[in-house]
Symmetry: C2
Subunit: 333 residues, 2 copies
C-alpha cells in the first residue's frame, strides 16, 4: 500500500483530534511571526510556514500535554515555540546546505537572500524564547534552551563530520540526536512538564520523542538512497553528493573491502564524483545489505518509541502516538 | 588629545574596578563556549572572543548590578549571556555583510566558512539562553528575550532599508535601537533587575543603556565617514560602499538640491559608484554641515545617558558610567 493510503492515517487522526488546538496554535504562530517594523520577516516566515509542513512537532507537544490531562493553554505557546525553533533551523540549514528547494518550493535563501534567511531565523529563535518565557515555567525554559544548544551542536558536528570516512555510528547518532531528536524529545517532554505530569510520565514522553526523532531521521537518510518508496519527492542522492556520512554510508564503509574503500574515499572523502557513482554506491549497499540493516535500525528505534509509552495513561491519544511511531518507519516498509 | 591618552580612561577605570568580576565572567565564557561533541565551536568562538573586544556590554551589566548593591553571582551569568548574544550577532552580521575583517583579524566566515559562522552563532544564542535560565529570574528572561527579538528585527530593517533613499531619521533610530541600543539597554536593565533595585532605578538603567547605545552607534556611523579622528582603524567608506542609510547620509539627502539628489540616488540607491564618489559625498556632507549635525546628535544622546543616571546611588560607579557616556562621543570630539 502506498504512503498516501495508509501511512498517513495516524498523523491525520492526531490532526483531527487536535484540530481546534492546532487552529489556536496557527493563530498564535501568525500573530507572533509579525513584525511591526520589518515586513520582510513575516514574508519570509510565511513562505516557509504556510508551505504546508506537517506541523508534526507542535502536534507532539499538544498531544503530550493533553494525554497528561492538561487543561490550560500554555501548551499552545509551547507548540508555537517548537514550530518557530524548527522553522528557524530550516532557514539556517538551507543557508548552510545552499539548498534550492524545501517543501516543494524554492528556498527563502533563493527567493530573497542568505541575509534574510539568517536574520529571520534569528528573529524566530528570539520569538520562540519570548513565547516560552510567557509560560512562566523555568523547567520548560531549561528543557527548550538545552534543546536549542543540542540542535546547533549537532549541526556543527554534522558539518565537521562531512567527508570524514572515520565517522562511526556513535557520531552519527550524536548528529541525529542533535539535528532531529533533540527537538522531538523537547516537544514531548515540555508537554508533559507543562501538564505537571508525574516524573515517570515526563521521562516516558522524553524517551518517546527521542526514539521517534531518531527513527524519523534514519528513515529520512535511508530515503535519500531511495529506500523502498520514492514517492515523497525527495531528491535521491542529495546526501551522497554532499558527502554526508549517514547510516547507509557508514554501514557500507564498515563492510567495504580495499577496492570499495577506495571508491568511498574518492566519492565521499575527496568529493570527486563521476556519472554512475550513485548507482555503484547503491549496488554496494544492496550487495552488503546496508539498506535493509539501516531499515532494521529505524524499526528498532520505532519499537523503542512505542515501548516508551507504557507508563502513560491508556487513552486514544497514546494509541495514536504509538501508531505515529509505526508511521514514520512505514515510509520504508 | 588622542583617543589613547584620555578617552579610554573611563573604560579602563571601570575595567580596573571590576577586574575580579570580569575574571570570573571570562572563566564562565570559556567554560560555556566549550562543546563536548563539536570542537569547531570553541575554535570559532575563541577566534572572535579572544581577539580583544572591549567587553563593554558585560561590564555594563556588572556595573549596573554592583551600583544597585547586588552581592550574589548571577550577574556573572548575565554578563556572559550578554557577551554571547553580542558575539552571536557579530558572527551572523559578518555573514550578512560578507565582511572580511573584524577586530583587526580575518572574520570567522573567511577563516572557516559561512556555515560555521551561522551554526556557531546559533549555538552561542542557545548557550546565552541556558545561562539566563540559570538565574531563575523570569523578568530577566523577559528583558533579554525581548532584546534578542529587537536585535534581529533591527538587522532585518537595516537590510531592507539599505539603498532606500526614503529612509528617514525615525527609521534610522529604529535600526540603531535594534542593532545596538537594545543590547546595551538590556545589559544595564538586567543588572538592576537581578539586584532587585527599585523600579525607578531599573528604568534609569534601561534609559541610560538605551541612550548610550544610540550615542555609540551614531558615533560609529559618523566615523565611517571619517569623523574627526580616524585612529580607530575603521575602514572609512564601508557603509557608503554598502549603500547603508546612516545618519550622515540621511541628513545629506534631506538637504540635497536636485543635482545632489541625483548623485545620492546613483551611488546609494542604484549602487553605481565610481572613483571619487566618496570624496564628493564627504564634500557635500561638509558643505551642508551634515557631519557636525550628526556629531551634535551623538552628543545629545550622550547627555541624555548622563542625565538618566540621576536616580541611581551617588557612588564612584555612577560617575564612571557618566564618564563612559562622555567617552563614547569623545571619539569624534
Amino acid at each position: 500500500m502506498s504512503l498516501d493510503e495508509t501511512a498517513r492515517k495516524p498523523h491525520d487522526a492526531l490532526a483531527a483530534l487536535l484540530a481546534d488546538e492546532m487552529t489556536a496554535v496557527n493563530a498564535l504562530i501568525r500573530a507572533r511571526m509579525a513584525s511591526e517594523h520589518a515586513p520582510r520577516i513575516p514574508e519570509v516566515t510565511a513562505h516557509l510556514i504556510e508551505a504546508g509542513g506537517k506541523r508534526l512537532r507542535p502536534m507532539l507537544t499538544l498531544a503530550a500535554a493533553r494525554l497528561c490531562g492538561y487543561e490550560g493553554d500554555h501548551h499552545h505557546r509551547l507548540a508555537a515555540t517548537v514550530e518557530f525553533i524548527h522553522t528557524a533551523t530550516l532557514l539556517h540549514d538551507d543557508v548552510v546546505d545552499e539548498s534550492r528547494q524545501r517543501r516543494g518550493r524554492p528556498t527563502a535563501n533563493l527567493l530573497w537572500d542568505n541575509q534574510s534567511s539568517v536574520l529571520v531565523g534569528d528573529y524566530l529563535f528570539a520569538r520562540s524564547f519570548q513565547l516560552m518565557v510567557e509560560t512562566g515555567s523555568l523547567r520548560v525554559l531549561d528543557i527548550l534552551s538545552n534543546a536549542a544548544a543540542t540542535i546547533a551542536e549537532g549541526e556543527v558536528l554534522q558539518l565537521t563530520a562531512a567527508h570524514d570516512l572515520a565517522t562511526d555510528e556513535e557520531t552519527y547518532l550524536k548528529v541525529v540526536r542533535g539535528k532531529t531528536a533533540a527537538l522531538f524529545a523537547a516537544a514531548t517532554e515540555a508537554g508533559g512538564v507543562i501538564a505537571a505530569a508525574p516524573e515517570e510520565q515526563v521521562t516516558a514522553l522524553r524517551d518517546y520523542g527521542d526514539a521517534l526523532g531518531i527513527a524519523f531521521q534514519i528513515v529520512d537518510d535511508l530515503l535519500d538512497y531511495g529506500g523502498v518508496s520514492t514517492t515523497l519527492g525527495k531528491n535521491v542522492g542529495d546526501d551522497f553528493r554532499e558527502g554526508k556520512l549517514t547510516m547507509p554510508v557508514i554501514k557500507a564503509v564498515a563492510t567495504a573491502d580495499a577496492a570499495e574503500r577506495a571508491f568511498w574515499s574518492r566519492v565521499i572523502e575527496k568529493g570527486r564524483q563521476e556519472a554512475g557513482d550513485l548507482d555503484h554506491a547503491l549496488a554496494l549497499m544492496t550487495r552488503h545489505g546496508t539498506l535493509s540493516a539501516t531499515r532494521d535500525a529505524a524499526l528498532g528505534w520505532a519499537a523503542r518509541a512505542k515501548a516508551a509509552l507504557a507508563p502513560l495513561p491508556d487513552a486514544p491519544l497514546r494509541a495514536m502516538l504509538s501508531d505515529l511511531a509505526a508511521y514514520v518507519v512505514a515510509r520504508v516498509n
